[in-house]
């Protein structure tokens, strides 16, 4: 009853129609999606700097208000470009794809890094975007350092698919708040990063507790992912940090 020719024609027409329909939808919805992604990124940056009351509706004005400088730096610590104009989301640093840059780094190709500087009630805050791998997928975040480029003001984490209730808890205030006031350099000025310690910071010697936070119980691999992400990313920014301390 149905010839092979009919089946092929039927399948071809159906698939072409479906593809055309989806392409149209994608093109029409793209501007909204891009805007949502940009807003999400802004919320993450402001949240690391502990700006209060940021949500999806006011993220753009808040971002324009608090962020004063957006830098692109190279691994040697030199500033490649510096953007202070408005609107802030037009900055080269904001448009930079950190995933792509870290990929270039992993393959020993030249890369650049974004860095945001916020002015919160006269306090200068450096915000470093981070990206790494969790247990099931990518994790990302931002770390805000105070003007001494040593003390942590706050952090923000996000994940694509960490286990809810376990690894997903990296997004919880309880985990993030531990980072506040921690330091990334020891007394001799050597880089220590911030260690996510399995079993808790009390396992560290007293003097080193300022460089560690408690890992999440039941989420060792996600905690390790956070630990490595902070260490690797801060390491890439180290030249800039050391130059400007």
């Amino acid at each position: 009853m149905y010839t092979n020719g009919y089946i092929f024609r039927y399948a071809a027409i159906l698939v072409i129609l479906a593809a055309a329909f989806l392409s149209l939808a994608s093109v029409l919805l793209k501007p909204f999606q891009e805007r949502n992604k940009a807003i999400d990124k802004m919320e993450g940056i402001l949240s690391a700097a502990r700006v209060e009351g940021v949500n999806a509706t006011n993220a753009i004005p808040y971002f324009n208000k608090y962020i004063v400088e957006e830098l692109v730096i190279n691994p040697k610590g030199d500033v490649v470009s510096n953007y202070t104009k408005s609107p802030k989301d037009e900055a080269p640093a904001f448009k930079l794809d950190l995933k792509m840059e870290l990929y270039k780094k992993a393959h020993n190709k030249p890369y650049v890094l974004p860095l945001y500087i916020a002015d919160k009630d006269g306090q200068k805050i450096y915000i470093i975007p981070m990206r790494g791998t969790g247990l099931w997928g990518p994790i990302w975040g931002n770390m805000a350092l105070s003007s001494d480029l040593n003390t942590v003001i706050g952090v923000y984490f996000g994940d694509q698919s960490e286990t809810p209730g376990l690894g997903g808890e990296i997004k919880s205030a309880k985990f993030k708040d531990q980072f506040i006031g921690k330091e990334i350099f020891d007394k001799n000025g050597d880089f220590t990063s911030i260690e996510v310690v399995k079993g808790g910071v009390k396992k560290l010697p007293t003097g080193q507790r300022i460089h560690g936070v408690d890992a999440l119980s039941g989420a060792t691999l996600t905690s390790n992912g956070v630990n490595d992400m902070i260490k690797d990313v801060l390491d890439s920014y180290l030249a800039y940090i050391k130059k400007n301390r």
Partner: protein, 218 residues
């Protein structure tokens, strides 16, 4: 002419209403047919994602049933599953794109589960069992009915999980602060998928208690 009109079924005849309400209780896709369990466990930690998932699945079941029913006489039987998948996948991608454009935070929470609607057994089941052999309007109602049945269970499960797991409903705090000060703590277990399975089990138990016809004879 008048006899033809008489034969035409009203849009909401008793039979059509039954297509809509049957899956909500006695033919429920989750508690009676035990389909679509995986997503029911995954997205029910909070009410909001459960509600959005309910809408998404209802739209997809309704419209995929409608489209397949419209095409049913032209679909070559040898490639019918592929045709069904193309239709379902198109609708699911569309829903995913719309969620990303307009409710980004919920879309982040639902993450992969919207994409996985494609593999939701309820949808393929309804297409094969109903849409391939019925007219578009009843097929659409059947799809929406199954979406409602799925969504109802999702919302009931999410209600209990959010209430006891986070102390909130739709993000609003329900459990008073004084209770927390008195030593009450949210039950972290409720957030994890195993408790969703147990909650679904309790719902099945309660449903069968009131509907003895559902209990299998030994």
């Amino acid at each position: 002419m008048s006899t033809e009109k008489m034969e035409k079924e009203p849009l909401f005849s008793a039979k059509n209403i039954k297509l809509l309400t049957g899956p909500v209780n006695l033919n429920n896709p989750i508690t009676v047919q035990v389909l679509g369990i995986c997503s029911a466990l995954a997205v029910t930690a909070k009410m909001k994602p459960a509600f959005v998932m309910f809408l998404a699945v209802t739209v997809v079941t309704g419209f995929s049933n409608l489209v397949i029913s419209l095409l049913r006489n032209g679909i070559p039987p040898r490639i019918r599953i592929i045709v069904q998948l193309v239709v379902v996948a198109t609708l699911v991608i569309l829903v995913d794109q719309i969620l990303k454009a307009f409710v980004y935070d919920v879309s982040k929470q639902l993450s992969v589960f919207v994409g996985l609607i494609i593999t939701n057994c309820i949808i393929m089941g309804r297409l094969e069992a109903f849409a391939m052999g019925n007219k578009p309007w009843p097929a659409f109602l059947d799809g929406v009915g199954n979406g409602l049945g799925y969504g109802l269970i999702l919302l009931v499960v999410a209600f209990f999980r959010e209430l006891f797991g986070s102390g909130t409903i739709f993000g609003f705090e329900i459990i008073p602060h004084s209770l927390y000060q008195a030593g009450y703590e949210n039950n972290g277990m409720m957030i994890l998928p195993p408790m969703a399975l147990i909650t679904v089990g309790v719902i099945i138990w309660v449903q069968r208690y009131y509907n003895r016809s559902l209990i299998e004879e030994k």
